[in-house]
Every structure is written in structure tokens, then in C-alpha cells.
């Protein structure tokens, strides 16, 4: 052992060790490589737990932020929990294309889908990506398929929309139902700006904006207005920046 107790080393890491102990550890670190490595390992563990939990939690869901905002009823009112009737309630409230989504997502599961299978959820401001899809949209680069709990998602491209916001075109396959959509970052959420079922994602993983093979999504892209496509470096930068809107560009 190194001469300091677990409690002392832990307190040192937290800046809570008393002055004498802290000074002793500081001195020991100058000559004791094993102690230095152990402290570094403990710091690494802390970071893994913290980063892992943050990634697992993802962005703050609208049902929480809505609770604190004026005039914005919490989106959980109609079924943010996976209870059996929730999809039917949402179905009646959503736009036709969103209703098609619900059909696609829940087809064949007789409304027994779990929360993790819900790719898109209703919110006060309209449909937004569910937790798994949001995590994929936030962290994945375009190209390779991403296997979520119950669906496979592929992000085709990322682009800057009119106004500076950042959006991503994606496809999803769920129980042999294929669909494509466009999601645009709005605050901490991914707003779903368009969606259609029945499309067949290309095998190469990339698409051109407004490609002729996907008329609905293309129309959606035209409506949103593609200002600039993000290349790999720009996409990585956007991921690291949390998909904040670009500034100084229109």
C-alpha cells in the first residue's frame, strides 16, 4: 500500500483532504509512480461513470423543461409513459405524416411497444425524436447503420438549414417497415420536420439532398431549405458543439 487510506486519497481527489494530508500526498506523488497511477485511475473511473450517465440520460426531455416554462403544458400529459393507449391518443392528435409514423413504428406490436421502441414522441411543440433516436442524431456520424433497441437507424446526411439551424436526414427500419425523415435541432431536442414510411434506404449510407429516390423527404428538404451540407469535419464539429446553430451565416 502507499501509505494513505482510501478515505484520504478519495478526499484528496475531491479537494477535501486536510492540509497536512494533502501536503503529504503532494510530496509522495513526486517520487511514487504507483500512487500517481492509482489516483489517475480513480479519476478515470469517476469520468467514466459521469460521462456514461450523461450519455445515457441524453438531452433534457421536453416533458421536464416544459414543466418550468410559462404557457407550455408538459408534453407528458398525453402518454409520455408507455401505457397501452398512448399511441392511439397521439395518433389522433398528430399530423397525417406523423400518424403514418405511429403506424410504422408500432405496426405488428399491438400497442405493446415499450418506451425504448418509441422512435418519435409527441410534445407540446410537435413530434420530436425519442430518447434512442435523439441519442443517435446527437452523437452519430452519417453513414453507418446504428442498431437501436428495436430499430435500425441510418443517418444519411447533415446540413445547415435556412436560418442557421442544423438538421439531419435519416432512415429507420423497424420490423421490416422502412421510413425516412428529417430532424432539426431545436434547443435540446430534435424536432421531426418530416417523415414518410415505405422508403428504401440506399446501401451506401449517403444520399444527396433532395434526391429523386425519396420525393417526400426531398420535398421536406426543399421546404426547410438546405443552405450547406456538412462534410465529415463539420459534422464532427457539430457533434462536439451539441448541434448549436451556426452563427454569422444565413
Amino acid at each position: 500500500m502507499i501509505g494513505f487510506s482510501d478515505d484520504q486519497l478519495s478526499a484528496y481527489l475531491d479537494g477535501e483532504a486536510d492540509a497536512v494530508t494533502a501536503e503529504g500526498i503532494d510530496r509522495a506523488l513526486e517520487a511514487n509512480q504507483a500512487l500517481a497511477e492509482r489516483l489517475e485511475t480513480l479519476r478515470l473511473h469517476d469520468r467514466w461513470v459521469r460521462d456514461g450517465i450523461d450519455e445515457s440520460l441524453g438531452p433534457v426531455p421536453s416533458r421536464l423543461s416544459d414543466l418550468l416554462e410559462r404557457g407550455s403544458p408538459p408534453s407528458n400529459v398525453l402518454g409520455f409513459r408507455p401505457r397501452p393507449l398512448a399511441p392511439m391518443i397521439a395518433f389522433g392528435r398528430m399530423a397525417p405524416w406523423a400518424a403514418a409514423l405511429i403506424v410504422g413504428v408500432f405496426a405488428g406490436v399491438t400497442f405493446q411497444a415499450t418506451r425504448s421502441q418509441t422512435l418519435i414522441v409527441d410534445s407540446a411543440s410537435g413530434p420530436v425524436a425519442g430518447r434512442s433516436l435523439a441519442a443517435a442524431l446527437s452523437t452519430a456520424r452519417a453513414g453507418a447503420p446504428l442498431k437501436l433497441d428495436a430499430a435500425t437507424v441510418r443517418i444519411f446526411l447533415s446540413f445547415e438549414a435556412r436560418g442557421g439551424g442544423l438538421c439531419r436526414q435519416f432512415g429507420a427500419t423497424f420490423q421490416n417497415v422502412e421510413a425516412t425523415g428529417v430532424a432539426c435541432r431545436q434547443g435540446q431536442a430534435w424536432r421531426i420536420d418530416g417523415w414518410t414510411t415505405g422508403g428504401a434506404p440506399q446501401s451506401d449510407g449517403y444520399r444527396t439532398a433532395a434526391g429523386p429516390d425519396d420525393p417526400v423527404s426531398a420535398a421536406e428538404l426543399n421546404r426547410i431549405g438546405v443552405i450547406d451540407l456538412l462534410d465529415g469535419a463539420a459534422e464532427t464539429a457539430a457533434i462536439n458543439a451539441g448541434w448549436k446553430p451556426r452563427t454569422g451565416r444565413q
Binding site: E37, T41, D46, V49, R81, R141
Partner: protein
């Protein structure tokens, strides 16, 4: 349903739920609310530390926010809002856990990391270690998890954590150290630099 999902959010208490909705719809934002909003990341992390799952954490966070909004008059300005919120959250969690006979938290790997594919390959190793770290974290007793959540996850001082959890400062120190020791044993040599 895990420990942190409650019947309230399953639609059980409709009228209470709508009273909260009306509250949210009619009250303007206040410093109280904006201060709570700033605490949201820390509240969710603490909730995850207690519950062990992301969806359980968000359910518990929601219950906490609703309780806090209903109890705003009980908060004394000038005192620490974060400590007050942590106490609400912990009390809610204890109540829920008692009701559900204190089942231990579980965290399937796919719950923590459900995005796995070629695109994530380069970070898979780190993610695997993080998933293992979370699993080890979830094996800790609730008392140790709550202390470790405040200090390790949220960066609270020992004094702040002691105040929030209403335990002696020395207890916080030993619980945090215990958490780190468990992580060290669980993750073993793989994590040596």
C-alpha cells in the same frame, strides 16, 4: 416498472396531474423556476444515481419538479435550492422504493448504450468501460450511491452533500471513498493507465 417509475406517471392521479399542468400553464417563469432549470442536469444525474436507469431518472426528476412547484412556498430564499431539491428527490425515491419493496436497480447494457453500430466502433471500448463502471456503480448500496452521486457526478463539496443528505460530513467522505474502491475493484486492471 422499475423503482423510479411511479403510478402517478402511469396516469393514476389524473386530477393532481392536471393541477400541475394548470400551474405550468398559468404561472410566469420566476427566478425559482429558472434556478431549478439550471439545476436540471445535476438533478437528473442524482436521480440516475438513485434509480440506475435513464427513464427511471427522468420519472423521478419529473416527480421532484412537480413536488417542488407545488411546494414553492416552503422553500426559504437564501437557503440552498439544490440541497432542498436533492432532499425532495431522495425522499420521493425512498417513498417509492418502500412502496415497491426496495427492488435493486438494474441497468441492462442496452439501456445505458442503445446506440451501437459501426459508427460507434471507435468509441466502443470506452463505452464498454463506462457501461461497466455504471453497472459497478449500481451495485453500491443506495446510501453510498446517493453520496457518490452528489460528489462524484455533481461535484458537490462534502459539506454540501452532507447538508443535502442530512448525514455527518465524515459519513460522506467514507461513502465516496467506498464507491471509488468498488469501482476500482470492479474495473480492475483494465483501467490502469
Amino acid at each position: 416498472m422499475d423503482d423510479c417509475e411511479n403510478e402517478y406517471h402511469q396516469g393514476g392521479n389524473f386530477f393532481t396531474r392536471w393541477s400541475v399542468v394548470r400551474l405550468a400553464m398559468t404561472k410566469p417563469p420566476t427566478d425559482f423556476r429558472s434556478n431549478i432549470a439550471e439545476l436540471m442536469p445535476k438533478l437528473r444525474r442524482f436521480a440516475f444515481g438513485l434509480c440506475g436507469t435513464a427513464h427511471g431518472a427522468d420519472d423521478l426528476t419529473q416527480s421532484t419538479l412537480e413536488r417542488a412547484l407545488r411546494s414553492e412556498s416552503q422553500w426559504r430564499p437564501g437557503t440552498r435550492l439544490d440541497s432542498w431539491m436533492y432532499r425532495i428527490m431522495q425522499n420521493l425515491w425512498i417513498d417509492q422504493t418502500r412502496q415497491k419493496r426496495s427492488r435493486g436497480p438494474t441497468l441492462p447494457l442496452e439501456e445505458a448504450y442503445d446506440v451501437v453500430g459501426e459508427d460507434a466502433r471507435e468509441t466502443l471500448e470506452n463505452r464498454d468501460m463506462a457501461a461497466r463502471a455504471i453497472r459497478a456503480f449500481n451495485t453500491l448500496s443506495p446510501e453510498i450511491r446517493s453520496a457518490a452521486s452528489l460528489v462524484i457526478l455533481n461535484g458537490q463539496s462534502y459539506r454540501e452533500a452532507a447538508e443535502a443528505l442530512e448525514v455527518p460530513l465524515g459519513t460522506i467522505m467514507s461513502r465516496v471513498a467506498r464507491a471509488r474502491r468498488v469501482l476500482e475493484v470492479a474495473l480492475g486492471e483494465d483501467s490502469r493507465p
